[in-house]
């Protein structure tokens, strides 16, 4: 009996169960990466710093998707919509109401959390590919919604809004780019630590229980509906903060910046980084930022095709993304130590 019911209810996400420990990096590795991220900008050009900031911003957005898909097992192709809401919230508050950029971040986060939580409600009835399709609709609708006539006084319509770049505070002797980088870095680290703790907490265990088996989870007393929508809300909220940071860094928001292409790029980043492995988010983000540039340098006319080939190679060689590479490295290292 139960088997038949289960057939209907459970989705089949291609997500492997991840042991809690394997979700993060070891302390030593984490500190090395952190040190690298802190020191590197001191030695490179502003343009590279800008790219590194974008790396962190997209990394955050990928991380948010990772919590949703890797954590609670729900798919989303609609992250660009939440990213857009976050970006526009910051841009509108900063440019139309002269709000300090730092204060716009929590507003974006809260607004997107609410939006995600609400969207999670109807999404409860959907799972697997159907959920993916519903979120896809959200992503395609967003650019058009931003163009609506009656929103134009705020959104600037199709022309978008130009955002003023903040200077470093307290007269710190650093360029705008460098300040924004460290600002983004601090927020990224805070959100990363919070996310790791979330997934290790009671709620995180609930997410994963739902991901692994919904019926078993509800039998254990987990409020499946609540936790599923909660996962959506948290993911959307983080994506919103990423969107805000993105708008401040790029200094411009327009409907064309937040099309379905962005949602797919984020999804791609998650898969390349390793589903459910949070540190992989930054690797995935690097992939979606730098690989198109590499593809372009190989062939301008066929950059799309070259990108496709590179992506195919990655998925073919390491289907579990950066996580797999990390595990292989770790094993090799262990072997070396034992000798």
């Amino acid at each position: 009996m139960s088997a038949a019911v289960e057939e209907v209810v459970t989705e089949a996400p291609a997500v492997e169960a991840v042991p809690k420990r394997a979700m993060t990096l070891g302390t030593g590795t984490s500190l090395t990466v952190l040190a690298l991220l802190v020191v590197a900008p001191l030695f490179v050009k502003n343009f590279i710093i800008f790219q590194m900031t974008m790396l962190l911003v997209y990394g955050l957005a990928v991380l948010a998707l990772n919590i949703l898909t890797g954590g609670s097992g729900q798919f989303s192709l609609g992250q660009s919509a939440f990213y857009a809401i976050g970006a526009y919230t910051s841009a509108i508050l900063m440019e139309q109401y002269n709000v300090n950029y730092v204060l716009t971040l929590p507003v974006s986060g809260a607004l997107c959390f609410a939006a995600g939580f609400l969207f999670g409600q109807p999404a409860l009835r959907l799972s697997g590919v159907y959920l993916a399709l519903a979120t896809f609709a959200l992503a395609t609708a967003m650019p058009q919604l931003l163009k609506l006539n009656f929103l134009e006084p705020w959104t600037g319509g199709v022309q978008g809004l130009v955002v003023t770049k903040p200077d470093a505070p307290f007269g710190l002797p650093m360029s705008q780019d460098m300040w924004l980088y460290y600002f983004t870095l601090v927020i990224t680290i805070a959100i990363y630590i919070a996310s790791v703790n979330l997934l290790r907490s009671r709620s995180g265990r609930a997410f994963m229980a739902i991901r692994d088996n919904e019926i078993a989870a509800s039998a254990m007393g987990i409020d499946v509906a609540l936790y599923k929508t909660l996962a959506f809300g948290v993911s959307a909220g983080i994506t919103g903060v990423a969107g805000s940071l993105g708008a401040i860094v790029v200094q411009f928001v327009a409907p064309d910046s937040y099309t379905i292409t962005l949602a797919i790029a984020l999804f791609l980043g998650m898969v390349v980084g390793g589903v459910g492995w949070l540190p992989g988010s930054i690797v995935g983000s690097a992939f979606i930022i730098f690989v198109p540039n590499i593809a372009e340098s190989i062939s301008k006319g066929l950059s799309g095709a070259v990108f496709g080939v590179l992506l195919f190679l990655v998925i073919f060689a390491v289907p579990h993304g950066a996580r797999q590479v990390a595990i292989v490295c770790q094993q090799a290292l262990a072997k070396y130590k034992r000798r």
């Binding site: 343009f47 590279i48 800008f50 199709v158 022309q159 978008g160 790029v250």
Partner: protein, 411 residues
């Protein structure tokens, strides 16, 4: 004695002044320029939804190859660095910064798309890097007071719409206008220009239908426009949709006065696929010659253009309006760089770009000239109306300027 001393001092100052003056006139470079090379940056969507425009970048590259093969500009070769932004504003910012900070180009030339250019405008103006001849028809690029480092090239959508408004007010003052427009910056700018041009008669517009580029067909919009009772149909569309509209009008047997925006006036790209029998009497306007129009076959300027395509860009399609565009705009840049002489600073580039005088690229319609000044950053302002007859456009009426009222809505 004193006077002698003074004279000596005056002489010394004069010597210093003149020698330094001569040094100034000699050679002066900003980043991206040297005795042998001028680096020019460009951003074009080679991939993504607007990748059809990639042809413009390729044409420009081919044109600079031609210039280099012929000895360069005042002995300097052009190094054209063109990057892909997939029509995404954040990517455009990244590429613009790469061009300015990593490749160190002298200027950014003909970057394409209103959203992408809006995204990089503030940055380039803060860095004082010329953003020259942007490939968009938005009206906001002609704003030398606030953005002295940004300049457009083609006539703005607004001024084109003004010309149609002028025409309609004169020829069909009782007309009822139905507008089909693309729901993006291009369509909206145009619609605003039309209303602006009609001024207090803007109630002539009885119906507006916006469509998204993602829609597979625009049939239902056209049916609704017909139902509104309109007898003037203005098609603010890109080529694919313009052709669809022309066909659909014939199918439902609706014969209003049909105006097609210049963007979609290509004989080879729009009217031929839509059927010449359906296209008779359509009105439009132009500033450049149409490579697919046989009336220009013996035109000396177009002959040069065809020869260029044959030799330097053989895979380029002469029927594609983008090749004609790329050629004309690249030729304008070469003129600016020639005028710069040996003073290749960013400031001088802008100064020369703002002092073009009756310059006529090979591909512009006879009589249309490029003129700029420190207060006028709109190189091409003129257009001529045309009517489709047989298999080609017939130009009619005078060459018109779209500056109906200088106070456009953006100011």
């Amino acid at each position: 004695m004193l006077s002698q001393k003074l004279r000596l001092a005056a002489l010394a100052t004069a010597v210093v002044f003149f020698t330094s003056g001569a040094a100034l006139a000699q050679k002066k470079y900003d980043a991206g320029a040297s005795d042998t090379e001028i680096k020019i940056g460009n951003i074009i969507p080679y991939s993504g939804p607007a990748s059809a425009y990639g042809v413009i970048g390729k044409t420009e590259e081919a044109y600079f190859n031609k210039i280099n093969a012929e000895g360069g500009i005042n002995g300097r070769k052009i190094k054209f660095i063109s990057y892909d932004d997939s029509y995404s504003p954040p990517k455009a910012v990244e590429q613009a910064r790469k061009l300015v900070e990593s490749d160190e180009v002298l200027l950014i030339f003909n970057s394409l798309g209103t959203p992408s250019n809006s995204a990089i405008q503030k940055y380039l103006n803060a860095k004082k890097v010329p953003q020259l001849f942007v490939a968009t028809g938005a009206s906001k690029w002609n704003d030398p007071k606030n953005f002295p480092w940004t300049m457009g090239w083609q006539p703005s959508y607004q001024s084109e719409a003004h010309i149609y408004a002028k025409y309609l007010l004169k020829e069909k003052p009782e007309g009822k206008i139905g507008v089909l427009y693309q729901n993006d910056d291009f369509g909206k700018d145009y619609l605003n220009g039309l209303k602006d041009g009609l001024a207090d008669k803007s109630s002539m517009i009885v119906a507006e239908e916006g469509y998204e580029t993602s829609e597979p067909s625009i049939d239902n919009h056209i049916v609704r426009l017909k139902a509104s009772g309109a007898d003037v149909f203005i098609s603010v569309t890109t080529p694919k949709f313009a052709a669809q509209a022309i066909k659909r009008l014939a199918e439902i047997d609706w014969h209003p006065l049909h105006i097609v925006s210049n963007v979609s006036a290509s004989v080879g790209g729009v009217l031929k696929p839509a059927g010449f029998e359906n296209s008779q009497g359509i009105l439009s306007s132009a500033y450049a010659k149409d490579g697919s129009d046989p009336q220009w076959d013996n035109d000396p300027g177009m002959k040069k253009f065809y020869a260029f395509l044959e030799k330097y860009y053989p895979e380029g399609d002469r029927l594609n309006a983008s090749t004609v565009y790329g050629y004309g705009v690249a030729q304008t840049l070469v003129q600016v760089l020639k005028q710069c002489g040996d003073e290749l600073t960013r400031e001088n580039v802008m100064k020369q770009a703002a002092s073009l005088n009756d310059f006529e690229p090979d591909t512009l319609l006879p009589g249309i000239k490029i003129n700029t000044s420190p207060t006028d950053f709109a190189p091409i302002k003129q257009l001529q109306m045309m009517r489709f007859k047989g298999e080609k456009w017939e130009l009619f009426g005078p060459i018109m300027s779209g500056q109906l009222n200088e106070q456009s809505s953006f100011q």
